[in-house]
Structures are given as C-alpha cells and as structure tokens.
C-alpha cells in the first residue's frame, strides 16, 4: 500500500491529520486547475476550499481502486465550477495576472504570440464546462484519457469525442476572430 493509499484509508476512517496531509499534497494542483478555469483569485480560493470540504464529507465513500485521488478531487472541482458558472451568470472578471506575458528577444513577435495565447485562454473559458475540463486536464495538467474519463464519470471514447469537439470549436472561434481583425 502506498503512502497515499494509507493516508486516504486513515482519512476515510476519520483521521483529520491524514486528511490534512492529503490537503497539503493536492491543494496547489487543485487551485491551479480552478484558477485556470475561472481566472479570478478570490473565486479560485473560495472554490478550492469548498472542494476539500466536500472531499472530507465524501471521503468515506471514495474507493481507492476506482479513481485516482487527484482525479476524484478534479471531479469535485468540476462540479463546483459548473455550479459557480450557473450561480454567476455575469462574467467573472479575470485577474490581470491571468494573462501572462513572457519575455522574448523579438518583442513584436512575442506580443503577437502573447495576444493569441490570451485570446486562446479566454476562448477556452467560453467552451461548455465538460469541454473546458477535458482540454485543461489533458493539455495543461497532463492527465491521461483514462484518468479524465474516471474524473468525469464517462467512458474514454466519450472523452476523445469531447476533446475533438472542443478543439474544433476553438479553431472555429479563433478563425472567426482572425477574419474580423
């Protein structure tokens, strides 16, 4: 049994110290994922806290063999983010830091690349929630299709289809914006 499995088992048995360790091990990843989905520090902080509260409430039902722990937390995150979108129909203001500019020896080219990245990131947030989740988990977080499938409660084939549709939609959005410029 790995250290992680041992901690999960203890936490499921009501050991808060073990759950605290699980929090320490996963909080950065969860926060990063949520921040990239919502683009706002305050919202990301609130949702991250809610994820772990819900995880504590549900950990007695978590099965080690069914879903990797981090993927399970991602699922909780996804559900909370979707609820958050539903509650806040207005746009969430994106932090300035959400748009990262990177130094380059060619400022003009760099500016063009950064502008495209900014638009791409903003457009990702316009995708339906499950498409966002798949794109971010696969390309940014590096999860496998199997892990994403487990996280979203779907089959692997369905995840690939969702990804295909997401990329197609993104391309359409970007091409439309380029045509308008």
């Amino acid at each position: 049994m790995t250290e992680l499995d041992s901690l999960i088992q203890k936490a499921a048995g009501g050991n808060s110290e073990a759950f605290g360790r699980l929090y320490d091990m996963n909080v950065d990843r969860i926060y990063k994922h949520i921040y990239y989905r919502v683009g706002n520090t305050k919202v990301a902080e609130d949702l991250t806290q809610e994820v772990f509260l819900k995880a504590w409430q549900a950990i007695g039902r978590y099965k080690i063999t069914a879903t990797p722990f981090l993927a399970w937390l991602m699922r909780i995150s996804h559900n909370l983010i979707v609820d958050s979108y539903r509650r806040k129909k207005d746009k969430i203001y994106l932090d300035d830091e959400f748009f990262v500019t990177e130094p380059s020896p060619n400022p003009e080219k760099a500016a063009e690349i950064n502008f495209d990245k900014q638009r791409l990131r903003a457009n990702i947030l316009q995708l339906p929630a499950d498409q966002q989740q798949v794109i971010l988990m696969h390309f940014i977080e590096g999860f496998s299709y199997a892990e994403i499938a487990s996280s979203l409660g779907k089959k692997e084939g369905a995840i690939r289809v969702i990804q295909y549709r997401a990329l197609k939609k993104l391309r359409q959005i970007l091409e439309k914006e380029r045509d308008l410029r």
Binding site: F19, G20, R21, Y36, V100, L120
Partner: protein, 373 residues
C-alpha cells in the same frame, strides 16, 4: 486532423500559478476547524462571540461592540483574577476558552498592522509553551494548540503580505522568518518529548513552517537578500542536522523527509541568489555565503551516508549532488564578477562517501571537484 493538432500544440502551459502562503494556511486552519467543529465543546456557549465556538459571522463594528460588551460582562462577573488564572491553562482545561477569548479581545483592540504581527508572534509563542507543557505531561492532546498556533502564524504572515501589498516598507518579514526559525528549534524539543502518536503532527507542522518561512523570505529577499539568504542557510543547515540526528536514532523514512526539506531549502537559496541578481542587490555576498556553506553541508551528508541503509544512501547522494550543483552555480556567478579568489572553487567530497558514489555525484557537474581519499 493536422490543423487541430497544431491548435492543440499551441495550447501551452500557463505560468506557475500557486495559491498564496497566507491563503493556504488560513484555508487549512479553517478546514481543520470545520472538521473538528462537531467535537468542540460548547461549555462556554454564552461566551460564543468571543471564544468563537460555532461563531456566527458578525460584520465590522457590530462585532467589536459585541466583544466589548461581552468583555465587560466577563470581567465584571468572573473578575480579573480568573482571567489571570487562565494564563497558564492548557487545552482541555476549563479556563482555556477564557485564555483564547482574552487573546481575541487583545487582537480586536490592536489596530496597527505592525503591532498585530508582533501580537500574533506572542500568541504563537504561547501555543508553543502549551505544547511543551503538554509534552512534559506526556499528553497527546496537542492538536488544539497546533491548530491555534497555525492560526497565529497564518495571521502574522497575512499581515506581512498585506503590508507588502500596501507598499509599506518591509520591516516585519525578517522578524517573522526569524521567529519561525526559533519555533522550529522548540518544535524539535517538543517532538522528542511528546508521546509517539503525537510525533507525526509535530513533524507535519515543522514541514509547513519550513514552507511558510520560504514564502516570507521571498518578501525579505527583495529588500535584503543577504539577510534572507542567512536565515535560509541556517534553516537549510538545521534540516541537515535533523537528518543526521534521525540517521542515528530511527529509520530511513524520517531521514528522507529531512533531506527532502534540506533540498527544498537549498533550491530556495538559489532562488534568493536569482532575486539578488535580478535586483542587482548584494548578489556577490549571497553567492559567497552559499559557496562557503557547501563544505559543511557535504561533511554532514558524509556522516549520514554511513548510518543509513541503501535507500537512505540514494537520498544522501541526491542531496549531495544538489549541494555541489549549487556550489558551482554560486562560484560561476562570483567568477563573472571576478571575486572568487578567496573561495575554494572545488568542493571537497567527504571521506564517508565511497569513490564510485562521488564519481556519480559529479557526473553531471561540469568541473571535477577534489576527491578526498
């Protein structure tokens, strides 16, 4: 699919996004409090607004008004003597909620941010004294003191970050970082004395303290990188000494944890060097400190190597490689400034490490250090 794949490959990873140290601490404390909420005693239910048991959310001035009124009732009813008597109370004692309530009152009436930082450090010292007292009694009921300690440290760090964000001159980050160093030494003593079942809690808080201290040192490094580097090097050394102590008394597991913290602090030292370089502020002094620290670090690692099993030896080897890499990085920077003459360029790998392991350590380093026979 090619255009789609191209689009997919254009999606690059975002910058390193991390939650702030103060948020992580506060969120963790809140999480632990909510988990323990059901277990918290409600004896002082009429004192709720002050002691915080199932405390409802009050806003701003109304909360202060409630605190003042309750404080007047408390002092007039139970007398200052009871409040005084609560000073030495420990978690589980009847008067402990009075003690925490008194601290809340003091916090409410301390409005200056710098004074607030100092106050939270005073409270955190109180928590450590409580843990020491509980350890001496061989009590394992230290969780409450640990949670309160983390709240106190978290509030101190939050205030320091707020001062930084407000653009105030930084004169508190060094105070907090130094305080954490002292706390780590105290926690080392506490860990020795507490019952076995409480030791993991103490180890965990030491690790969290180490990470929190690094966050504070990042603030200090911008103003005074030499001081930040000194505090960090002391912390780095402390983790090595802990690893050495663990190598003698217990198994590989705790040695590896301590070495992992050593590596994290050593790497953080490199970050401080980079900040000093970027700010063009005392970079040479910082690099010189790092270069001079290498020989002592390698000496201790050599001692540890001889006392651990194969798995532990791998951890020591990794730590030694990191130390040597850091040394050469510092030397390289000093050479560029033309001031590396009075520093040993080649670190001496200690006798305790076999020759074949020394060769492995050096394989990825660009220059061959002197190998002692």
């Amino acid at each position: 699919m090619e255009p789609l794949l191209k689009l997919a490959l254009d999606i690059e990873k975002p910058g390193d996004i991390k939650p702030s140290s103060s948020y992580k601490i506060k969120a963790r404390v809140n999480l632990m409090e909510q988990i323990h909420a059901k277990k918290m005693k409600k004896k002082w239910w009429w004192f709720n607004p002050v002691v915080g048991v199932n405390q409802p959310v009050f806003a701003g001035s109304f909360k202060i008004l409630v605190v003042v009124v309750v404080a007047l009732i408390v002092f007039s009813t139970i007398g200052g003597g009871t409040v005084y008597a609560s000073r030495d109370s420990l978690p589980g004692d009847t008067l402990y909620p009075v003690k925490l309530g008194t601290e809340r009152i003091r916090r409410t009436f301390t409005t200056d941010d710098v004074d607030r930082v100092q106050l939270e450090l005073v409270f955190s010292n109180t928590r450590l004294r409580e843990m020491e007292a509980l350890a001496n009694k061989k009590s394992s009921k230290i969780d409450k003191s640990i949670r309160e300690y983390e709240k106190n440290i978290g509030k101190a760090i939050e205030k320091v970050e707020q001062l930084r964000d407000d653009g105030a001159p930084d004169n508190m980050s060094e105070t907090v970082a130094s305080a954490i160093s002292e706390h780590q030494s105290i926690l080392d003593r506490i860990e020795i004395n507490v019952p076995e079942e409480a030791k993991p809690s103490i180890r965990n808080i030491k690790e969290r303290n180490s990470n929190n201290q690094a966050g504070i040192l990042r603030i200090l490094a911008r103003e005074d990188p030499v001081r930040a580097a000194k505090i960090n090097l002391d912390a780095t050394q402390s983790w090595l000494e802990r690893a050495e102590a663990k190598a003698v008394e217990s198994g590989n597991g705790e040695v590896e944890v301590a070495l992992h913290q050593f590596e994290a602090r050593r790497e953080f030292g490199n970050e401080i060097s980079q900040v000093a370089d970027a700010e063009n502020n005392e970079a040479n002094a910082v690099n010189e400190m790092h270069a001079r620290a290498t020989s002592r670090q390698l000496e201790i690692l050599g001692t540890i190597y001889g006392k651990v099993t194969e798995r532990g030896k791998n951890a020591v080897e990794r730590a030694a490689r990191l130390s040597v890499e850091g040394h050469y990085r510092a030397i390289e920077s000093l050479k560029k400034s033309g001031i590396s003459d009075n520093i040993r360029e080649r670190p001496q790998l200690p006798d305790g490490i076999p020759a074949r392991v020394k060769e492995r350590i050096l394989r990825n380093v660009h220059e061959e250090p002197e190998i002692s026979k």
